[in-house]
Amino acid sequence: MMKMKIILLASILILLAGCVPKEIIDDVQLIHAIGFDELPDGNIQGTITYPIFEQDGKVRVEYLSAVSHTSRFLRSKLNTKSPKTLAAGQLRIVLFNHKFARKGILDIMNSLYRDPNVGNRLFLSVVEGNTNKLLTNEYTATPLPSIYIMELLEQNIKSENLPRTNLHVFLYSYYGEGIDPFLPIIKSEKNSLQLNGIALFRDDKYVGRINHKESFVFKILLEGSRTGNYEVQLKKGKRKGHSVIRNIKGTASYKVKKVNGVPEFNIKLKILGEIHEYPPWLDLENKQNIQLVEKTLTKEINKDAKKIIAKFQRLNVDPLGLGDQVRRREKNWVFKRFKEQYPDMKISVSTDFEIVESGVIE
């Protein structure tokens, strides 16, 4: 009886081996990046790039593009052009043309996050211009445009003004109540790419943007930040000049007060910074001058923060998750009610900027 069981078990295991599809790494074509464009006739144009690894260790990039009504069928159409089966398991970048993004990207997001092969840490981005052109362009920075975009985003998240973003963050803020998603915007230049601000989404539709300078305060408001640089114009008497300040530690604290059933926000920004560059006429030995820098910065940053928040309210998007802030503090929070109140909500920002270092830099 025991032996019967063992034989049964062994045969089940051996027969089941047929159920797992083999995807040997050099027999599949690893898609690195996908770009979606909208054609004038309403169809979707999908462009993929995949790396070709040569034996001597060199890498080159290949492109394929196809036109279809749905994103999923694109893959099938692309397969008809590809020498090896296309596999999405190494997908790193998904790009949306800005016109395409204005119409909504949910169907694509949906198929991405339901595919277990696709990682949650993949980057999404809105492109100003044609994604096909962007992906097929040649860049001097790296041989693969996909790796270029990925490293560009990673690097900016780590050391610049870009807040943390990937598929997971997007889906969290898309499906979360009281918070709206955002994506980075990329622009193609002649031989390089540029990060060009942040795209704001209402539901899955691209509705507005903030620029690179504004995303400095956006990052601090969103998640606190220890990175980023800010340029400011200084004025003293008749002399003018620019100064660059590096953020050492920026935090935001949200206070919510309810007045007649409408939440009122009081956001406090606290930023510690370091003077990187300053006009030669400014004598930093003098405390007053440092205070001048601090004062100007406080004013500028406060202005920026107020500006972007006003923009968010005007566009009726909530990438900062203010609704979520209220939800945390309230028992019977109703998303619908908050949405109606949001555009006219009173949101005040106060900034406290402090220069902690001005000497030797880095």
């Binding site: 790494i25 790396p51 690894f53 260790g57 890498v59 596999a87 398991g89 190494q90 990682g119 990925m150």
Partner: protein, 507 residues
Amino acid sequence: MMKWLKKKPKEQSHTIDLSNNTYASIVELIDNAKESADFIHYPQKTIHHNVYISYYKAMIDGELLHRDLLPYVIHNKDFKSLKDLKDILPIESVTITKDIKEIQNKLLRGFILIQFGEYDEECAVIRAENGATNRPVSVSEIEFSVIGPKEAFIENLDANLYLIRRRLPVPELRFKEIVIGKFSKTRVVIAYLEGIAGKENINTVTQRIKDLEAEVIPDSSYLEQMISDNTKSVFPQLITTERPDRVVAMLNYGQIAVLSEGSPQALLGPTGITEYFVSPEDYYLSWVLGSLFRFIRFISVIFSTFATPIYVAVLTYHYQMIPKDLLAPLISSRVNIPFPPILEVLFLELTIELLREAGARLPTKVGQTLGIVGGIVIGQASVEAGLTSNILLIIVSLSALASFTTPIYKMANTIRILRFPFIFFAANWGGVGIVIAMCFVLVHLLRLESLGRPYMAPLYPPRLLDMTDTVIRLPYNRLLKRPVSLGTQLPNKNKLKEMRKKKDIDE
């Protein structure tokens, strides 16, 4: 249904009990012995009368016969009866006996027989064993250590017992002798420290060895397999060691050693799986270093078992897992390879196994050359010929290297073959397959026992007190406890706290 699956009834054994064939009379014994060419039986003239001297030529010390026996027997005037031999010979072991069985056994062990008449029943048996053919105690080669004693056991049981007794000169060290083997009559010694080793364990070992029905025991490894709890397991359940210092340390821990005549290896038990990765050097180095090296050894075992299966699984099924920076080297090294990963891996693993096997069978010097030629030339050539990838070559050779770090040779061999089922499972079911294989191995290990004690102890069942000397080795003043899991009679040494203090300052 499926009759061939059912167990066939056991056949009765019909071997004849040759060796225990005791002869009825001394005549029969001597006549039978004469059939062997090395049996000498001749009359010798002495002053008073003739005596008959018989012995197995190969078994006795010829010099002793010529120097200490014959001159006295021939020239001594007092030699009138057999009893006089006791007085005139400068040898302490002279027995007068009529017991045929005893005479037979002693003759075969290198005693000299003296009779008055050719077939006299009363004989004197004089001890004259040949000890000259013993190998001297030499440097341990299998379990080499840089620091610490270099002595290793030899093929002579008494010399081995001396090596142990010299390090433990206490009466509590007991040697229990059992003779087993119908033909070989091998002396097997069970060594333990009375009062420290668990009584239950001693009884288990004694009973298991006594119950053996072997004909010849050429080496203690035979014993090891015969008295193991699970003879089907690939895991060794008793430690085989050639180091007396290890035996002594483990006796002190409460383990039991089994030594057998003609074998340069002692067996130690009951053991837990962690002990197979312990090298005596761990104790000779400072505890930080010792623990670190031991940890490296554990890691290398895990690496050695899982490196190639994971390679196969990832390249066949889970390309999603590969980090983007590793993608380029992995794929570009595999571009021209015509085989799926499983064949590629089997090809290289078998090459390494071949090299290892060939190296082990050849004399040392040829073996070394073979290792270098095989390793470098075959490896490099197979990469250039496009049979295997560069990265796999590194993985396979590293995992081979890692499997050599296990100090106990038998365990190293187990680790060496353990990866093949893993590779097979990985090739068929990917990562899930590796987990399935791991489950099988873990369940097997959990069920395994060494002399009735759990093999996974102290990891499972967890014995925190014993952990002080498993994965990490704590300093000696924290290490005074004997393993609980061995069932030793003295689990704690007293005055632990007192002993931790250093008493050099007078306050």
